[in-house]
Subunit: 419 residues, 2 copies
């Protein structure tokens, strides 16, 4: 019998307990042993949780318990979780975590510490979708050309709603908050940070590349308006917040931002709160993984899968999927040098000569225009909606600064990259 | 160093050799050891294949070679492959196969024989998509509610073309044959047999259920016409050939047939030669896996992933994912008792009273009509296109027999189940 201790018994922790109980029959058949949750750690012991396990408010009650084989870390946060997980591994326990922030900052240290003990983290990216499994094992024969993921259900819910119902951002955010899809402070989700944490984990498995959230481009969806949505519809695009990892020569791009993406692409078809990740391998071509990215049971499904895997085979592979440095010569690409097509929304006062001046700035920055629409925005202002041919990020940023300084431009142009 | 012998060096075998060479750097980093192909077995030794490995036309040259750690079986067929694979396992070699027919007939015997040796078969279902991996490991915490898979690229290519271009079946088949997407004798693909083999493999992992292709409902796409496609479009459906495994109470339905499926479902969005499999777990909800289901490199990507997994961890789990009987009480559901919505195309001579007579037969068989369209088919015949509410298969089949006997019905009604 395998005994599990859970540190942090909230929504996901309770689902882990329930799944191990509800599905004990098949889990035992698949794992080859029975798996039970012996104990849990919570902050507030006085709250009645209706659970049949031993509860404590001291992590050492699990870490020092020689009967516990697997520690499930669901406490969240970075520093304290790192201490707890290190101690668990060093005392010979396997660890399963759903903590993306911990991994975004400490995955390489953890890979070193977890040389001998199993350390699994399927639930840290895209909830119930077994994407870690797919990338680390299923696609292991491939050099990974790119990863593009919709990995935040809040953003995808909001963008889908804006697309289907022509509602402005603020109204949709309010609705998402009322439905419990967005937090009171939604910045972590709508600002792209949650997606960035998950992207860094996937990029490590694919490329062995080390980076922290601070090192990469992270933008959110806060500036997207109904005008942008209308443009997207007219030209056959969906708008998605994507985490993107892409290998170009000896560099890896890592970036999180909203994208205009052809609605014929599979990833553009993923709507609502669902997540999906497209992975292109040099041999397998494109594969895509779709499912629920959040929710207690979906996340716990991944946690329990890791527990089963550890129960049947112990440590069967390196944590990030490689022993020797993987693609050791790869460097993080400077964001200034990425190339993309771009879409811009420039809000201008309705005066003569505006278009000529803006066109000139495009030309001076070597930006070539692909399509342009002008639409009235208010009584005396208009939106210029412009898509470009392939351009360099630095040139676009310079151009946006220049345009923003123009007297007749009412606020800094909104830019969305086109995939 | 791990040494591999390949039995059957055709398109996939050559891709395996190339991938192990092209991607040796990352494969070695991921596997923790170098992996090389030492030798291969071919039927015709006189053909120059430009390969740098030892070739023989005798399988025993690999099976008796004590240096070979992993045998890759790519010879195809059932009986001879079964003998070869058994011998390899019994002589202490791990086996990787892409042979779906072998598994459709012998997977449980192989699970018994492969108690101690690794036996892997990711490439046998949906080529490069790591669906075995997902189902056996990633979703192991779940009771599987259903599996629905587009697992034959030939059929999906043809149905997508018919949908997009309003062309009749025969013309599309000819085009698919010219493009190399369909065989000269296309029966194995368009008749649903290829899909059935793959479905049986997935159903074993999900349910532990034993069945042979002869035991289950297998229908193809040969009867689908432009009329059916037009109906599908009008009512918001796609038409897909699906392999379906579904648990209902203590029974499992296993069936392969064309389906009308709402175009809003993710699986309905998978077009062209691509494959996709939707798996619904009781905890994780729906997950979907998409990618190339055929082709040398995509299939070899899965074969090499299995080789890497064996190189790094040996035998780490039971072949079908369980030791003890899984959901032991589950029985194969008799096809007569399945329930579904149905679509029927009834070609009738243009006479008065036809509709009344047909309606009466519907009523007598307890079939309730949801929608009906009548369309001219030729100068003096019409198509009745009818969709039903939920009905029982046996009733539908009885009704079709009765209708087919009617004097004014020109040929046996075409039926497509609605998912």
């Amino acid at each position: 019998m395998i005994k599990v201790g859970i540190i942090g018994v909230g929504t996901v922790g309770k689902s882990v307990i329930n799944i191990l109980k509800d599905n004990a029959d098949i889990i035992s058949a698949r794992a080859g042993v029975d798996i039970v949750v012996k104990s849990g750690v919570v902050k507030n012991l006085s709250k009645d949780r209706g659970l049949e396990i031993i509860l404590s408010d001291n992590v050492d009650d699990i870490l020092d318990d020689s009967e516990i084989d697997i520690v499930v870390e669901l406490m969240g946060g970075v520093d304290e979780a790192f201490l707890v997980v290190k101690k668990a591994l060093r005392s010979g326990k396997a660890v399963v975590t759903a903590n993306k922030a911990l991994l975004a900052y400490h995955r390489y240290e953890l890979q070193d510490i977890a040389q001998d003990m199993a350390f699994e983290y399927e639930a840290s990216v895209a909830g119930g979708i077994p994407i870690i499994n797919a990338l680390r094992d299923g696609l292991s024969a491939n050099h990974i050309k790119s990863i593009m993921g919709i990995m935040n259900g809040t953003c995808n819910y909001m963008l889908t709603k804006m697309m289907n119902e022509d509602v402005e951002y603020d109204a949709i955010l309010k609705e998402a908050q009322e439905l419990g899809y967005a937090e009171a402070d939604p910045t972590f989700d709508v600002g792209g940070f949650d997606t960035a944490h998950k992207l860094l984990i996937l990029a490590s498995i694919a490329y062995g590349i080390d980076a922290k959230p601070e090192d990469i481009l992270i933008e959110g969806i806060q500036n997207i308006s109904a005008d942008d949505i209308a443009f997207a519809k007219e030209f056959g695009y969906a708008i998605k917040l994507l985490g993107i990892a892409r290998k170009t020569n000896n560099e890896v791009e890592l970036r999180v931002h909203a994208c205009l993406i052809s609605k014929d692409e599979m990833i553009a078809k993923i709507d609502g709160v669902m997540n999906g990740i497209s992975v292109v391998g040099d041999k397998v071509g494109e594969t895509l993984y779709y499912g629920a990215g959040a929710g207690g049971d979906a996340t716990a499904s991944a946690v329990v899968a890791n527990i089963i895997d550890i129960a049947r085979s112990g440590k069967s592979k390196p944590m990030l999927g490689f022993d020797k440095p993987l693609e050791g010569e790869l460097k993080l690409k400077s964001i200034d040098t990425i190339t993309s097509k771009y879409y811009l929304r420039i809000n201008v006062s309705d005066k003569t000569g505006v278009l000529a001046k803006i066109s000139k700035i495009f030309e001076e920055n070597n930006i070539s225009i692909e399509t342009m629409l002008q639409r009235p925005a208010s009584k005396d202002s208009a939106n210029l909606l412009i898509s470009t041919h392939i351009a360099v990020e630095k040139d676009i940023q310079n151009m946006i600064e220049r345009i923003a300084e123009l007297e007749f431009v009412n606020f800094k142009p909104v830019m969305i990259r086109v995939i």
